[in-house]
Amino acid sequence: MNFVYPSPQNRSFIKNIVLNELIEALGAEKVSHSEIDRIVYSRDSIVQYNSPLIEDDPELPRADFVCFPETTEEVSRIIRIANTHCVPVVPECGGAQGSGSTLPLYGGIVLDVKGLKKIIDIDTDNHTVTAQTGLIGYELEAALNAVGFTCNHLPQSLHVSGLGGFISARSAGVISTKYGKITEMVLGMEVVLPTGEIISTKRVPNSAAGPNFNYLFMGAEGTLGVITEVTLRITPLPESRKFLGALFRDLPTAIDGARLIMRRGLRPAAMRINDEIETLFMGREGCQMVLMLDGFEDLTELELNETKKIITQLGGEDLGEDPARKWWEEKRYTVAFPTSDHPLFGIPKPGHIRMSGCIDSAGSFDYLVKAHRGLKEIVEGMNMVLLAHFSHWYTTGGMMYPTFLAELPKGPDAVRAFNEVWRRGIELSHRLGGTINHHHGIGLNLGRFMKLELGEAGLENFRRIKRAMDPNNIMNPGKLGL
């Protein structure tokens, strides 16, 4: 879709008009065009990755304005102004997405929703929480924990990302195997459409009253509107939590173990398989599995015992609770913290660039083994390293979380290698029947692969929806391949 924005000679004039209207609508304290704000909102995690999308280090595209609304009505006002003047709007919450979803490619307005920070209602009888979507994940979780509840959405980015981002990118937390992705936790939401109109979906457990419009906005990454409020289901903090580690001889056996566990009807909160390379880093040979089991005491005891039977049946070694407890209590965020010797964050050799990416996907149990093997061949064939774990499970399959790492001489070849490994990895996922992304989102980086995921007709249908809802194409243009 082409974006309509004032021509350069009119732009300065329009910018002043827009600025004045935004200040009038929100108040000067909620609108910024300072250089510092425009710089910091030009970056997200894709930049930290040193992703060589383009050569050298050019200035990143900057927004013209940053707005800090605090209510749904204020978001609506911003979008109406943007529509009037055909100015792009990029909603941002945590700004931690790794695919460039929140980069303001065409300037315009970055709409920082973190000012929408109210917890509106915690209903401990009906097990729901209603909150504005600008809350960072941990802010909501801490408030729920204080009253003995949890929302069970605990991704590695819990301290970084916000509700709006979680929902917009269809994210998954580390205990999604038992509690579902964020999509399964949403009952209803309030959304500001690209026209500025405000709609709400009902906050009910389920319905047959037409299509579920929640799913129109979840995963749309801000291209179809701004989610400003959400009702999520919550549960009491678990009475009992048990841990178990296991070691399998190889990846196919470990994945078979996961399959049998899910098939048995067991629902571990967390079940994480490290591939052979990751297991080696833990000082073992084979494939390690760590499990966490939540629930009331009898349930966790039952699930623990049944899980142990399956491990034994497959010739696996019971490692006791230590590896799993240690992972949960001490290590689950460790990889995200930079250190000088961290494979992602260390300083590369002079003239080199260190790059990485997570080509995550999901598919059947069979798919996982084939996809891992195929991706390993691709990555290692390009002189890169692949580390993988498998961490979100379903009765019909699971998710692969493979990270490639490389250090290459800076320049056009690094750009080519980066794009090629992504392309080949995604094409492999698609060819084997998997989705091109499980929970990190599409953003900018993967937009060009959406035709694979949806098919030509499917992508055209998505574009039709986009054109109908956002005729001026103001909402997060350039993303999701739209």
Partner: protein
């Protein structure tokens, strides 16, 4: 220990893992206020990609140095230390106007002005006894607080109830915390030397600063400046009060159940690791039901005083104070007890509506009320 340049780089490439506990970012909700982004701008300045301008310096001062970022970071990187280094001894023409206009006052021995004669007289009634600890009332209580004379009166009252013998300086020098943490190292050092000398001359054996940031200055700032305090023992206010209560075993006059929450002051908590002692005190009082806020201890947000943030960015202080009060309100507690009188003052001076939040008392005022 990672050097400051590398630490700046590492903070600037992080996924912002500490952003949710940053006291300023949590209050302003601005992406620019996350420690990661401040480190990114600092890194660009360090490497000549960005000029150090008054706008950028003003931005560096939007940090309360609460160190929540350091405690949230598994490898212990300290974005606050990066900002502290960025502020040190800058030219006056780079300073934010709000700071430039008060620099001289903040750097003086009396940053809040001279205390009143009535306060001096009141403190002059203290009769030290032998090796009694020195209480440092702090410049804010002595001259910068709306009800300073009442606060000092309550200190004296509580000490009497607890049978405590202590000494006080009728003319108390500033610890130097304000100029030091605001980057005026020379002035901070001068003030620190003055107080250290006065304590040595008075043969002080132990010192109890009532203000958490004075405690922090003595604990962290003095060693960093090379200020010798010899064998003077530094005791935090909660530790001191707990020792008195354990010894005296006072009767408490609380009739019914009262829900109380506790705010961990940055200087006591994150810097002094004083978390349990004030809670132990509260639990000793019959009928007091301690209910914790959602963010406590290492995650407790700063009240907004921010060792000088209230001078450079009073609007941020206001947002922070209101946020903290809101967290207190969410507990349903009737009273929020702070470990530090300055925290109490800062919250009360800045909250929008006192009637909607718990009553805010510092630990001295609370105990004076609870002990007949």
């Amino acid at each position: 220990m990672t050097d400051i340049v590398e630490m700046t780089r590492l903070c600037s490439v992080c996924y912002k893992m500490c952003r949710d506990v940053c006291s300023v970012a949590g209050a302003t909700r601005h992406e620019a206020d996350s420690p990661h982004n401040r480190a990114f701008i600092a890194y660009e300045v360090m490497h000549g990609k960005r000029e150090l301008t008054p706008e950028i310096v003003d931005y560096f001062y939007r940090c309360s140095l609460c160190k929540a970022c350091r405690e949230a970071c598994e490898p212990g990187h300290d974005a606050g230390e990066v900002l502290f280094a960025a502020r040190k001894d800058l030219d006056d023409n780079l300073l934010p106007e709000t700071l430039r206009s008060v620099k001289e006052k903040i750097s003086s021995p009396k940053p809040y002005g001279e205390e009143s004669e009535a306060i001096r007289k009141l403190i002059g009634t203290v009769k030290p006894d032998g090796d009694a600890p020195l209480l440092l009332f702090g410049q804010k209580m002595r001259a910068g607080s709306a009800d300073g004379i009442d606060q000092i009166g309550r200190v004296l009252s509580l000490m009497k109830k607890l049978g405590a013998s202590f000494s006080a300086f009728e003319d108390e020098p500033a610890t130097g915390q304000l100029p030091y943490f605001l980057g005026f190292t020379g002035a901070g050092k001068k003030r620190a030397e003055e107080l250290a000398e006065q304590m040595r001359s008075a043969k002080v054996k132990s010192v109890v600063p009532l203000s958490a940031d004075d405690f922090r200055m003595l604990k962290v700032g003095y060693p960093a400046l090379g200020i010798e305090t010899g064998s003077i023992e530094l005791i935090s206010l909660p530790e001191y009060l707990l020792s008195l209560i354990v010894k005296k075993k006072p009767r408490f006059n609380n009739d019914g159940n009262i829900a109380v929450t506790y705010h961990d002051s940055c200087g006591l908590g994150r810097e002094g690791r004083i978390f349990e002692q004030p809670r132990e005190i509260l639990r000793m009082i019959p009928g007091v039901n301690l209910t914790e806020m959602a963010l406590t201890k290492d995650q407790a947000p700063c009240c907004g005083y921010g060792v000088g943030l209230s001078f450079t960015h009073p609007e941020i202080t206001k947002a922070m104070a209101n946020r903290l009060a809101e967290l207190g309100k969410n507990t349903g507690a009737a009273i929020m007890v702070t470990g530090c009188p300055t925290c109490r003052d800062t919250i009360l001076e800045n909250i929008d509506d006192r009637s909607t939040v718990p009553e805010i008392l510092d630990i001295i005022l609370f105990l004076d009320r609870m002990i007949p």
